[in-house]
Symmetry: C2
Subunit: 120 residues, 2 copies
């Protein structure tokens, strides 16, 4: 089944709360995740919330990565959206799980743009 | 079932190809979609691909909206990720479908951060 995009949804539970509230740490982590995945980074935007929580997105040539964190619950939602086969999302996913110290995570992969055509 | 985040995935097919390749139009559309939804825009980042296609993200205080387009297939993937109940994602979703001239669309809503706690 051909699809234009691959969308990976990570549910990261039981994470280290301090890391989930550290914007610099999260930005470095997402940028490195994009790098190990072989993605080309175009831009990024991170925001610190008060009293806690961080949202961040890394725009890559092959689509994007984002993260939203809830330190108070030890939880983060992270997505990796890619098109083509050049990005190794498994490597990025593994790095995110490890770096956030998630003790309980799940991964869901969704095909986006499943059309009645020949695509990648 | 309580969830920290609400993640709406839009599959927009049979769209107007010209609109899908018009960065300014798409940026305006996503910013207006965030506005009608009652979201607070923090930042945005859009990128034009060659020979065609646009990726864009609007970071909002309540999370984000993004779009990735494939004009050659008349297809766009758009997501609306929100936390809390203040953002009316149905309005944003309806605006995106109309503005892109989608003749065939589907909507999937995913709960993110379903924890064994009392949350919003």
């Amino acid at each position: 089944m051909n699809a234009l995009g691959k969308h990976v949804l990570l549910e990261l539970k039981n994470c280290d709360p301090e890391r989930l509230n550290d914007l610099d740490y999260l930005k470095t982590t997402l940028m490195q995740a994009a790098s190990v995945a072989g993605a080309t980074v175009l831009n990024n935007s991170f925001h610190q919330f008060q009293p806690q929580g961080v949202s961040g997105v890394v725009v890559i040539a092959e689509s994007h990565l984002f993260i939203h964190t809830w330190p108070e619950y030890g939880y983060a939602a992270a997505d990796i959206f890619t098109c083509g086969d050049s990005v190794n999302w498994e490597k990025a996913s593994k790095m995110l799980v490890e770096r956030l110290g998630s003790g309980n995570h799940s991964v869901m992969e969704i095909k986006r743009g499943v059309l009645d055509i020949e695509s990648n």
